[in-house]
């Protein structure tokens, strides 16, 4: 059976990682979007957004990690 028919090994980590990364970017942009936040709230948004973006990057790395004979989607 070809990979295109292997429904669940279709880069779930990669594609969901992109979504989480985008949500992280929106979170990082919140303090700069005109919303009134205290310094502590701003820090919290930056921390949370940073975690999501870093997590997304890790999912990218997981997807493209070398596996001996080349890369394989997760």
């Amino acid at each position: 059976m070809t990979e295109t028919k292997d429904n669940t090994k279709m880069g779930i980590a990669l594609l969901n990682g992109i979504v989480l990364g985008l949500i992280g970017v929106f979170l990082l942009a919140t303090p700069m979007s005109g919303v009134e936040l205290t310094p502590e709230e701003t820090r919290l948004d930056y921390i949370a957004g940073g975690i999501l973006v870093v997590g997304s990057a890790l999912m990218f790395a997981l997807h493209f990690r070398p596996t001996g004979g080349g890369t394989e989607p997760d």
Binding site: N7, L20, T30
Partner: protein
């Protein structure tokens, strides 16, 4: 900049990104859904870890986050036992039941019950779940999700009901279980991520475990007989005396994990037997380790910070409003939306599976090709969703009564089927005639207990009598089935399997997971007991 329809600009960006992603998964997985196995069980190729995430996402939804926090808010630390016991019940069902279902390549428990016993029992399960339980349950999911939108964002309740239903049905019917599983992975991340921040904020605000414990000690006792919310080992609990609660929880949890169609699909869709075990056993580690921190801890904090709330279910929304700034607040809203969708999509897919495989193919359209069955499943899925919107609207007219009713239905229908499933999996001598008698007898007992509960006759045993009713019903079904198997002759139509019979399937991986879960549960019990002593 002021929020528009409850969300700021960047929060709208998050919500649109999430909704676009789940719909995109529907299109992405659509090309691979050419057979029933592809559409209903993701081609039986789901890796174990992904299946375990999907199990968690399917089972935990906004109701659980709101209701679970509400339970800890209302009843205290004793609510934690329910999550720890998931480990025991998931081990048991994984070792006893799952491999037998997979061996027959069935699409649902109904197919296995038909083979193991007789068509009457298989049909009873299929019809009750397809046309009664799932319809009502999906309506509840949709209503609860819409209520969150209405409460936290001010959206129109009825518009929210329609929107949530449309989104869930669209990507589920398009992409099948593959889309459901893929979105579950995203949804479990979005459910837990913001609530982790809430939990950490709660922990710091109340001064850690010692500070929380001191403040809980100062709260009024629940009743004259109960010790305060700080004690997880009180003899008298709202669920009955502690041993009753434990045994009842085992009966209810075992029945749930063995019979609830949408969760059983996870191990059935796994790529091999070991992945099937991981799908359940891996999920249990989430319940034991993580869920108490994101559900019980916030609930206890809310009990200290917001005593006297109108409803226990208001505890989580109050915590979100208090601790999460704009931005993270939007992630929490997306997370709660994800929670509802993760359960609704599973319910829709489970309905399509059971209706098509267990009802339509069995009775109305035999020997047709997969293309025909997939078309039928999609039409049925649309009709089911429309009917569930109707159920959601009905629930909206009497929400508290309906939710209590739903919990009652759960405690009524699951234990009888759970018992005959477990008995049939464990003991080869159980035959169909005995199982039918056990099912009917326990059904009568279950309905009788419903009336007794409604008349307040069970109040002296337990304020929340779900565990007690499950215990009685499960026990009656098991005992009657076993006795009837010895007393009555086996029907000639029963399929008799020769050869050695293994009651449990204990592979090396299953052994490792079982030991790990038991050790982790023990550590968790010691940790939480010491933290609140």
């Amino acid at each position: 900049m002021e929020p528009v329809f409850g969300l700021t600009l960047t929060e709208w960006g998050m919500m649109i990104t999430f909704v676009a992603a789940v719909i995109w998964w529907g299109f992405r997985m659509h090309g691979g859904t050419t057979t029933m196995a592809d559409a209903f069980l993701a081609g039986r190729k789901v890796p174990g870890f992904i299946a375990s995430l999907s199990t968690v996402a399917t089972n935990l939804n906004g109701n659980d986050f709101l209701g679970g926090v509400g339970m800890a808010y209302g009843f205290g630390l004793v609510a934690i036992h329910g999550f720890f016991f998931q480990g025991f019940t998931l081990i048991f069902v994984s070792l006893v039941v799952i491999h037998r279902l997979r061996a027959l390549n069935v699409y649902s428990l109904g197919g296995w019950l038909e083979h193991r016993y007789c068509p009457a029992i298989g049909n009873a399960y299929s019809y009750v779940w397809t046309f009664i339980w799932m319809l009502f349950n999906l309506g509840l999911y949709i209503y609860a999700g819409a209520l969150v939108m209405h409460t936290l964002l001010g959206w129109d309740l009825y518009l929210s009901i329609v929107l949530l239903s449309f989104v869930a049905a669209f990507y589920t019917l398009l992409g099948g279980l593959g889309a459901v599983v893929a979105t579950d992975v995203l949804q479990v991340c979005l459910m837990f991520f913001p609530l982790t921040f809430v939990s950490v904020a709660c922990f710091l605000h109340v001064g850690g475990f010692s500070g929380l414990s001191e403040q809980l000690d100062q709260l009024p006792q629940l009743t004259a007989d109960t010790i305060n919310k700080n004690n997880m080992w009180a003899w008298h609990t709202p669920f009955g005396i502690l041993p009753l609660m434990f045994v009842g929880r085992m009966c209810l949890g075992t029945s749930y994990w063995a019979t609830e169609a949408q969760v059983v699909q996870r191990p059935l869709s796994a790529k091999d037997p070991d992945a099937a075990r991981v799908s359940y056993m891996g999920a249990s580690l989430w319940y034991i380790i993580l869920v108490p921190f994101v559900i019980v801890l916030p609930g206890l904090t809310a009990a200290v910070m917001f005593p006297g709330l109108e409803s226990n279910d208001h505890a989580m929304p109050e915590l979100i409003r208090t601790f999460l700034p704009r931005g993270l607040y939007g992630v929490a809203i997306v997370g709660l939306t994800a929670g509802f969708l993760s359960s609704a999509d599973s319910q829709i897919n489970a309905f399509c599976t059971m209706f098509t495989a267990d009802v339509y193919r069995r009775h109305f359209g035999k020997n047709r090709d997969d293309k025909h069955y997939l078309m039928v499943s999609k039409i049925a899925g649309v009709i089911f969703t429309i009917c569930a919107i109707g159920t959601a609207l009905l629930v909206s007219t009497n929400s508290s009564g309906m939710m209590v009713f739903a919990v009652g239905v759960l405690a009524t229908i699951m234990p009888p089927f759970g018992a005959i499933t477990i008995m049939g999996a464990l003991f080869r001598f159980i035959h169909s005639r005995a199982a039918l008698i056990g099912l009917y007898t326990s059904g009568v007992v279950a309905v009788g207990l419903v009336f007794a509960s409604n008349m307040g006759m069970l109040k002296s045993i337990a304020e929340i009598d779900m565990e007690f009713r499950a215990l009685i019903t499960f026990t009656v079904a098991s005992v009657v089935t076993v006795i009837a198997s010895f007393v009555l002759p086996r029907p000639k139509s029963d399929i008799v399997v020769e050869g050695p019979h293994k009651m449990i399937e204990l592979t090396p991986l299953a052994t490792r997971y079982t030991i790990a879960i038991l050790v982790v549960t023990l550590i968790a019990y010691v940790f939480w007991t010491i933290s609140f002593s």
